[in-house]
Symmetry: none
Subunit: 401 residues, 2 copies
């Protein structure tokens, strides 16, 4: 109820907000009494900005809950991640930079092995190399089904993304992966009557794929699961009256931004420096910029503590380029924690910094987990970051007299 009320109170203004997301930023010390990745990094620019900012910790979803980048970003963008769920199939397609449309039905696909009786013997086709599965997808692209357009996109090893585009398609479909070997893959069935058409078309695709793959052992069959369409979410323009742009190189983040109605900008390379160059070049055109940095999460997930420290230092070195543009509001945080010692996403709240000329600076000249835990923002639900940023940007009317 507060969310809808808040959105009704937003007003346009001539101010700019920059949200800088270090994916998986939050960390843990390697040993008792030690420092986290962020605390270990030498970050003179972040520390100087922290001294003029309000600090706190961002809670992506709720206590004890580790989230993926999808819900993590929805929360950062001010959406309730439990209200707007991005299904697995849709995430897979977004993750390979596919421009998923509002009516597309997407699924996670994978190659598998069946025996002569059609019984599943390997759910991953021996973890088929990516080049092999890419070549086999070429073969499957020969399949044409009346009334729909099909897209098959390589992901990694035995995995691919499946997208079916057409009208009147529902994603309320059962999955074909029986989750164990020794049985046959399942047929897709409609979970609601309006999904009958989609079920029939998907089963026809699988039948033809099966026939084309005969003899291609170990990848002689496919399975599909996580059927999903994109959720319909109100855009940043509708919610917050912001003309918003995304600066990111990875598909999934570009996809979630597109979902939120942001313009997804072309970045002239894959480095963080390239992203900052895009930010500089397009600065006058938008009033909200989301910039995404992937490396912190990649290092966290692979257990590379030192790599994550270096990634944070790389970010720190670029930060002055944004500050030179004199943004009205700067947010620095992550979509979730990815401590190197856990090699995975975690539930820990994420260091958060909000700078504007109108925050009450905490005077804590350090950006790190412990400094942030002493900050005046406290532990703040991630979805409250946008409201606070908008207030600091003079974009919210007063309620009542």
């Amino acid at each position: 109820m507060y969310d809808a009320f808040f959105e009704s109170m937003t007003v346009p203004a001539q101010t700019k907000i920059a949200m800088l997301i270090l994916d998986g930023l939050g960390g843990l010390p390697r040993e008792a009494g030690g420092k986290t990745e962020l605390e270990s990094a030498r970050t003179p620019n972040l520390d100087a900005l922290a001294a003029r900012s309000a600090l706190g910790l961002s809670l992506p979803l709720g206590p004890g809950m580790a989230v993926g980048s999808g819900p993590g970003h929805l929360a950062l963008f001010g959406y309730d991640p439990l209200q707007y769920e991005i299904g697995r199939g849709a995430l897979e397609a977004l993750g390979v930079d596919f421009e998923l449309g509002p009516d597309d039905v997407a699924a996670r696909g994978n190659f598998c092995t069946i025996d002569e009786q059609g019984i599943l013997t390997d759910r991953r086709a021996g973890r088929l190399p990516t080049e092999d599965s890419t070549r086999l997808l070429e073969l499957l692209r020969e399949i044409h089904i009346e009334g729909v357009e099909l897209f098959l996109l390589p992901v990694k090893e035995h995995r691919f993304a499946f997208v079916m585009r057409g009208t009147g398609l529902s994603a309320d479909l059962s999955e074909t992966d029986p989750l164990k070997t020794g049985v046959a893959p399942l047929k897709v069935s409609a979970l609601r009557p309006e999904a009958d058409k989609a079920a029939r078309l998907v089963n026809e695709f699988i039948r033809q794929a099966n026939s084309l793959l005969a003899g291609k052992h170990p990848a002689n069959m496919i399975m599909l699961r996580g059927f999903a369409k994109l959720p319909t979410v109100p855009s940043f323009a509708e919610k917050f009256k912001l003309h918003a742009a995304c600066v990111a190189v990875n598909g999934m983040y570009r996809g979630v931004s597109r979902l939120a109605g942001m313009d997804v900008l072309k970045v002239g390379g894959i480095t963080l420096a390239d992203e900052f160059t895009t930010l500089e070049q397009r600065w006058t055109e938008y009033d909200f910029f989301y910039l995404h940095f992937k490396k912190t999460d990649t290092c966290g997930e692979s257990g590379d503590f030192e790599g994550k420290v270096k990634a944070i230092e790389e970010f720190d070195a670029q930060l002055p380029r944004l500050l030179a543009l004199q943004p009205d509001v700067v947010i620095v945080t992550g979509d979730h924690s990815s401590p190197a010692v856990l090699k995975s996403h975690s539930w820990h709240p994420v260091p958060l910094l909000i700078y504007s000329a109108y925050v009450r600076p905490d005077g804590l000249a350090e950006f790190g987990e412990r400094a942030c835990s002493r900050g005046s923002l406290g532990i703040m639900p991630a979805k409250h970051i946008m409201p606070l940023a908008l207030a600091n940007a003079g974009r919210v009317a007063k309620y009542g007299a």
Copy 2:
């Protein structure tokens, strides 16, 4: 849900609670690294009380939302400001100290200018001086409409408050101000069938006013907007089993207190010292006192940093008079922030102090924004202050065995 449950658990007791509200208390530093108004003020009495108190920050409504004094006070009194909305017309009438009854329909009125064809040429009648509009309201008081009593109350310049008292009146009425010139003022229409009667009577009033004002250029017409009745809210006695009194000199705060079922005490003057005198004189009669100090907000809204500092020091000098009465619980906070540098209400959480013999003192011998951000109460929704005060006053039963 918690609210209703909590209220069912309150019990009477022989204890006294004093809630001292410095309007617009929260502030901002004038320059980076500087102090806020409250941090700049010399407040030996508040600081000494802070050392024996629990500190925190009060969030009036939600993240990023600046509120008016109406919703700000409802929250302080333990009501949800989104559940109980005080409409603009009702606020206007309360603001000039009118004793608005539960069935009265109130509106904001203003004089305006129309040309010979009835087309609006100035929505504010050249910002008519207050004395002129007061004189013209005398003229309009000649209007009598069968079945209702009318009240016309000068506000400032071209503005006035309109109140219609009678039975069977609904405030679900459209407004007459078209919000632009070059068109005729609108007629009032009923937004729901039960408002037909009120619409007819208001239109008749406007017709007669128009006729009386003919030739009174520039104030030859009136417009009415923000039709509202008072919301029906449970009283302090029902909610909290408190016999409550209001000590305030400004109409709006007296009005909101009356809405909450408090006895609104007569104050023998307009200074803060006069308010403390009333508190002393009536101390034995009530178990809850709300005391309101306006000057902090007036200075904040006019950008007078030094004036706000002095107002806080004036409050500090009076505080020992309350403490000498040995209240069981003392709350010191504001209904919202009004930083002088912003010259307006703001979204920043408000310094909060709760004293009783049973709080856990934070040992922070300073009452200021940064000290409060380190306090044990954290960032607390304003409507949770009353429950905490009641517990400290021994007025809440234990839940469950």
